[in-house]
Symmetry: C2
């Protein structure tokens, strides 16, 4: 098991991770670029250092970059001359993976890098808002490529499943970033386009007066900081572009079908998303039946009839693809039974 | 003041309206087509009758059609031969206004009709789910055309502002239906297109696993009954079609700008909705400062610096346009000072 972890950036995500790791008896060494919440962090048992160099020379087994994405090139450049690549595996918690890997490789650190993205967060930011509980039962995407060393991968993966008791799916960067574009970045653009439509209408006050729950939900994300949204979209621009064009085509096709009273096509449109409706219904059912199963042992859970848990063997060659296929089937890795065998759980699938 | 009201359809909206009117000492006579919740309704003080004819011949001053839109032609056909047009003003609570007026006119009842659409409801349906509180501080759109008689209009409008203590905006059907397409019907199609996109992706389980708050909000309305969504969209098809094409153009233009790294255009895109963001921020402020003002008298409210209340004179000729201009300015009518003078309030505007 990993005993020392380095954290760059004690914001909401990094601070919460550091605190959770300390709770799990991992030694955590952290550095924060500006506005150092060191007094509070030290009270929580985190060792704080004065420079990124100090953090690197402490040789943590894993170093998580939890800084903002825009600071990534600067952090990587500093690390490139001081990081002990044999001792330390480099990881991050960024919400896009392709761009980060490019920057990591540009800094000559590709050989010790394993990407990660925890599905955790709140609308707040900063160490003061940090809370280890955001990692309760969290799912992480771990991103690898064909050159990723399996031992490096195992270090990060078993920290997440073993120490943090979280779940993982293992993806290549492109699959991660395309999925993120679908469920977050593109919807943010759509939401913004909706409020633009209203704002530019001469009847905007009438529309706003008639607005109810559906409008409120569809436009909530457009109310968040537009600069942050813009940065997020530009970091994943290629995938967002493709999905926006696809969505525009879907909306235009629907407009045509509506115009032509094309009954069969309209029926298909409203049926096409049924797999996702069914998935959400099953997810609600599972939530309502409680989460008591999540700390139960394999095979002993009273809720085990609701989850499918199976063991999967991982081949030494092409392990990346075995993991990707598993993720595509809706499986989450919950445990490494041995280095080349994992236990996966399927809670619900689309 | 109106003393008798007829209600067709004791569902969530009609049932809640009937119960609220009884609370305000109006005599309410109701008829329900099927599954009659008459025992419960009678306990609440509602007089229930056996047929639509019985309801018509009771000559309520206003008769609200609260039946589903698809039953409208059948209801109107039955009413056409029995409604006393002199005694009764016909209204409805339908969520589209143009289609209903066409049906009313086809039944020869146009001369006694004033449309209405209360912004009230929950995700539930049926009399058992009814609750007079859904009309607390509700806003109604009242829809008129150039032939609407002012006395007919006044009957409905003063019931809403006086008896129900609700607010109104007065619109033509087209303005109402276009605004409804913007804030509800079109977003429903967009939300459905998003879940279709995911459902048809080979990586749908990965995308679903990564989904967080933004996806949940943007797709919630796509999880509701797709048949009801389809009906709603088809009832307002012309407006939805126009808005979908416009939105598709916006998304395509944004994709182009992203592709071309068009900094100025991207900046414009993220700034265009700022009026709506500012409006929502001001609305939140007003909500946080409490709603204590809403029952205060004109000019005496401690919160009056937060609301603008003014009196507006209504001309006998072209009153429809005076009201429409007021609605466009973001004003809500809260009181008829005299038949040709109203008090309006501006809480927040885009």
């Amino acid at each position: 098991m990993v005993k020392t972890v380095g954290i760059v950036g004690l914001g909401l995500i990094g601070g919460s991770l550091a605190r959770r790791l300390v709770q799990r008896e991992v030694e955590v060494i952290a550095w924060n670029h500006t506005e150092r919440p060191y007094a509070a962090a030290r009270e929580d048992g985190i060792t704080c250092v004065d420079s990124l160099e100090d953090l690197a020379i402490a040789r943590p087994e894993i170093l998580f970059l939890c800084n903002p994405l825009k600071a990534m090139p600067e952090m990587l450049e500093q690390l490139s001359s001081v990081l002990d690549r044999d001792a330390t595996t480099l990881s991050d918690v960024g919400s896009v993976k392709g761009m980060v890997r490019q920057q990591v490789e540009a800094a000559g650190l590709g050989d010790c890098y394993v990407g990660a993205h925890p599905m955790a967060g709140t609308e707040f930011s900063g160490f003061a808002a940090s809370d280890p509980a955001i990692y309760d039962d969290a799912l992480w995407a771990v991103s690898v490529d064909d050159t990723t060393g399996y031992q490096r991968f195992l270090k990060v993966a078993t920290l997440i499943t073993g120490v943090l008791e979280n779940r993982i799916i293992v993806l290549d960067d492109e699959t991660h970033d395309c999925a993120a574009a679908m469920i977050s970045h593109t919807p943010h653009v759509v939401s913004t386009a909706l409020i633009n439509e209203l704002s530019e209408s001469p009847d905007r006050n009438i529309a706003a007066a008639l607005a109810a729950g559906s409008w409120r939900d569809m436009t909530r994300v457009a109310l968040t900081d537009p600069n942050r949204t813009r940065a997020m979209v530009e970091e994943d621009a290629d995938n967002v572009e493709v999905l926006l064009r696809d969505l525009a085509n879907r909306l235009t096709a629907f407009a045509d079908e509506l115009h032509n009273h094309d009954d069969a096509a309209l029926t298909r449109f409203f049926e096409a998303g049924q797999p996702f409706r069914d998935y959400k219904a099953r997810e609600r059912e599972l939530n309502e039946s409680g989460n008591a199963h999540q700390f139960d042992e394999f095979g002993k859970s009273g809720e085990s009839d609701k989850d499918e848990r199976i063991a999967i063997s991982i081949p030494e060659s092409g392990w990346q693809h075995t993991f990707l296929d598993s993720a595509r089937r809706g499986e989450h890795i919950i445990r490494f039974i041995q280095p080349w065998q994992v236990e996966v759980e399927t809670r619900s699938k689309v």
